[in-house]
Amino acid sequence: MRHFFFGGVNPAPHKESTRRKPIARMEHQPKQVVIPLVMSTGEAAIPAVKPGERVAIGQPIAVGRGLGVSAHASVSGRVLAIEERPHPWGGVCSAILLENDGRNTPWPGRPEPLDPTQVTRELLLARVREAGITGMGGAAFSTAEKLSQAAGKVDTLIVNAAECEPYITADHRLLLERSDKILQGAQTLARALGAQRAVLVTEGDKLNAAEAVERRLRKRSGKVELCTIGTRYPLGAEKQIIQTVTGREVPPGGSPLDVKCVVLNVATVFAIQECLFRGKALTHRTVTVTGGAVSRPRNLWVPIGTPLRCLVEEAGGLREKADLILTGGPMMGTPQHDLEAPVVKSTNGLICLTQYERRQPAPESVCIRCGKCVAACPMHLAPAFISQAVRQGELHKLPRLHPQDCMECGCCSYICPAGIPLLELVRQAGELMEKGGQRQ
């Protein structure tokens, strides 16, 4: 039986310019890379190297603790300094500066590749922790932590290749070009976690990748289901993808574990496969550099820590003035003001929007109660009522509308014909609810 998630919107995909471009290595290696100590939702890692020390690709240079993850050198060369550098999530963060010697020497101390048959749960967790893998779809939660929580408690592993954000094609290309490895990774993970089902979810606009996966599935003995869903934003959101695949709904305030599911991004699965069977730490990732302002949009295989400026140069520079530069997609991305900020583990795209492409801040008009926001909200909220309650100060109405369930996908703001900043108002309502709860 097919399941659906409620709501969602259909933004223009804008993926044509990069979806046929293979993932390319950078022609001009960055002279310097900046490895921030914070690359996941957790504490900062502790530097394990000193300025002047020589490092090789894959060598751990900072050790993670708690929910934080370790960092590895993504180029071979010399440690220049440990200093405050701009971070793509905003603000500054202490980071390790590496000078690239251009020789790409691999680290001799890297772990031995494993045989697929000998992967156990403990080994998997240890290797993933060692490789410093985070969620690579945008949320940047420590994967080792996620897997250790999920181990033995889930019956479904979902590999998320939906990539519902417009413009970005990094996961699409990765799935198309590395489908065999991804399938192997998914199979190994499912076995190690004790999940009966492994489902790879992709969208209808990636049919060539789906076809490639299907061709390889026929050859493989293990079972991975392929599920191709009609394109709709936000299919890639965790709760929505679980609902679409299994029909289960994550309870309010709960996590996917409550419905016995674990969702991993396709790039994360690829990184896990690389770390298990090739002994590689997470040092490189795919990034889509695109947008109307970029001369030669392309998908790049870049060392983590590459400054965004190098990516723009690699894509032929800007052909016109970029009105807004974002990491991540245009629906949920983060604006970048300083192109010296580096690529981190969760950066899947760099989008340079021209003034024409960008949504023009139109003057807000009144709500005509069209109900598009309610029909678009995948979390079953009523943004029209929430925003009205916040603006009129009727806080007693908020508990009935449960604004704290919002996952900030932005569908309501996107669809609103009156241009009301619904997302901000709902977020504000959620904060007010939390405050009210604390006071009680």
């Binding site: 223009a12 005509i368 997302l423």
Partner: protein, 551 residues
């Protein structure tokens, strides 16, 4: 720093549509219907539409200007209101009618409540229904293809298909004609084909969702199916119900008005179902043939309720969580109710109170409350009784009954009587008697004559041929047992059928009752006078001549 959330921007793409674009789309969707109306009813339609849109814009501009608020003409909502209003008028409407409708729609319904997005009733529909309360202005449906001239309207009034449906028969037009629009009706509602084209456009452009029209038309069709009259095929009956009148027009263009329909998807479906049910109930059971307008306006007033009832289920909270929560809360509330258990323990004095004293205390307060209730009831009963007693309702009823009895005695063939404007000297009152079929039967004349010991008042019924139909004495002072002998029903019955002048002997005479001669003569004189009055009643309202005949 640890959270990526606070820095996120709202979506940097899009806004696929704006309010003004949605309004423009509605106008585009109405263009085919407008074109069809021009084709059917002539260029007069265009002038009506222009007047309507112009006056809507003017009132909107004036109101916003006069109250010092920013102009809202650019959102095009006033244009849409004007166009919808024009399309819901008959082609024969005078040019000033849309101005009146626009004033009500824009100023009262829309702007008084705060303008776009705040009104609770559809302005165009409210304006149209206000105009519909002046039946002369609004029910002269002209025939299609009978194009009207611009200035003089002398249209052949055509019966709309709905008036046939209202009587339980199919309209004379075939279904294909109804579908194309060869029927009498408002400008916009006649052509279902063009309306469906426009509705499809709106749905495909995602200006409206299909929920309201689909649930509206579906419910209407189901109800029509449930009330198929005898001898009519079910299929064509349902199709005729759907295609005639403003059902499709209302379902696609009035019920889907975003401001006055529910926000939540489930609420929208309930709204559509409610509209459909009300429309069909009004069509079948009200005295008007059409019910779309009132149905939608009624449901507009229920939108707040539907919005609450249709709030989406919380994500991940189970299918019936709200109902279950409500039931458990109700159970808790019900459990709060305690029945008093008499706390009678027959021990000796406890804590300074007699046994059962605590219980008695409880009963006392309740008794007091009951007493208050009783007092209020008593007072109410007294007031009602007093009003009943002193407003002479019974007296009036008794009088009416007496009058009816008198009429039965005087003029048996009449069912009721009423005052006439005639006056004649000698007659205390002249009343006309009518049969049950509302036909004039005769006149009842109240006359007086001098009897043995005072005036004898009597009521004489005379039919249109000048014959007496009955005599009744209503008041007298004669001696009981002597004079009253002439007033027995048998004695009075002798006058029935007489005409002309009645004498006391000879031909055309009624003999005096022995012993009551004076009274008999008085009654005969009265009857004669009444006959004479009726004979001269032709001179309407003038003094009726009366010559005292020889007795």
């Amino acid at each position: 720093m640890n959270s990526t959330r606070s820095l996120r921007l709202p979506p940097q793409m899009g806004q696929p549509t704006t309010t003004a674009a949605m309004m423009a789309d509605v106008m585009v969707a109405l263009l085919p219907s407008l074109a069809m109306a021009v084709f059917f009813f002539g260029f007069r339609v265009l002038i009506l539409t222009a007047v309507s849109i112009g006056s809507c814009l003017l009132f909107e501009y004036l109101y916003r200007r006069l109250t010092g608020q920013p102009d809202t003409l650019r959102d095009l909502s006033a244009c849409v209101t004007g166009l919808l209003l024009a399309l819901s008028l008959p082609a024969t409407a005078a040019y000033l009618i849309p101005v009146l409708g626009a004033a009500f729609a824009i100023v009262v319904v829309k702007q008084f409540y705060g303008g776009l997005g705040k009104n609770f009733m559809n302005p165009a529909l409210a304006g149209r229904m206000l105009l519909a309360t002046f039946p002369v202005l609004m029910t002269n449906w002209s025939k299609p293809l009978d194009r009207l001239s611009l200035w003089e309207v002398d249209a052949v009034s055509a019966a709309t298909p709905l008036s046939y449906l209202h009587t339980g028969s199919l309209p004379p037009q075939g279904l294909d004609q109804l579908f194309l629009g060869l029927q009498g009706g408002c400008l916009g509602e006649v052509s279902s084909l063009m309306l469906l084209l426009g509705g499809l456009y709106l749905v495909m452009r995602r200006v409206i969702s299909i929920r309201i029209p689909a649930s509206y038309l579906g419910t209407a069709a189901l109800l029509a199916l449930a009330f198929v009259p005898e001898g009519v095929s079910a299929g064509s009956w349902v199709a005729a119900q759907l295609l005639s009148g403003s059902l499709i027009f209302g379902a696609f263009f009035f019920a889907t008005d975003p401001t006055t329909s529910p926000v939540t998807p489930r609420g929208q479906i309930m709204f559509g179902v409610g509209c459909g049910a009300l429309t069909m109930l009004l069509r079948f059971f009200s005295s008007y043939p059409e019910g779309v307008g009132w149905a939608i306006l009624t449901m507009n007033c229920c939108v707040w309720l539907l919005d609450r009832a249709g709030l989406p289920r919380r994500f991940g909270a189970g299918r019936f969580s709200v109902l279950r929560e409500y039931l458990s809360r109700a159970r808790l509330s019900l459990a709060e109710i305690h029945f008093i258990k008499p706390d009678l323990h027959f021990s000796l004095i406890k804590e300074g109170k007699m046994p059962g004293e605590a219980h008695l205390d409880q009963i006392r307060t309740q008794a007091k409350a009951l007493l208050h209730l009783g007092a209020v009831l008593l007072a109410t009963v007294l007031v009602i009784f007093g009003v009943h007693r002193f407003t002479d309702l019974d007296t009036a009823r008794a009088e009416a009954k007496q009058q009816q009895q008198l009429l039965a005695q005087v003029m048996p063939q009449a069912a009721f009587s009423s005052e006439t404007p005639y006056r004649a000297s000698g007659a205390l009152s002249i009343q006309a008697g009518y049969s049950a079929d509302n036909e004039l039967v005769g006149y009842c004349i109240e006359v007086q004559a001098q009897g043995f010991s005072g005036a004898v008042t009597m009521e004489v019924g005379v039919d249109l041929d000048g014959k007496v139909t009955g005599v009744a004495v209503t008041d007298h002072k004669e001696t009981s047992g002597v004079g009253t002998e002439a007033m027995t029903p048998a004695a009075l019955h002798r006058y029935v059928g007489k005409s002309g002048t009645i004498r006391s002997s000879g031909s055309n005479s009624v003999d005096a009752v022995s012993g009551a001669t004076a009274t008999s003569q008085a009654i005969t004189a009265g009857v004669n006078r009444a006959l004479a009055i009726v004979a001269t009643l032709d001179q309407e309202g003038g003094d009726v001549d009366y010559v005292d005949g020889e007795v």
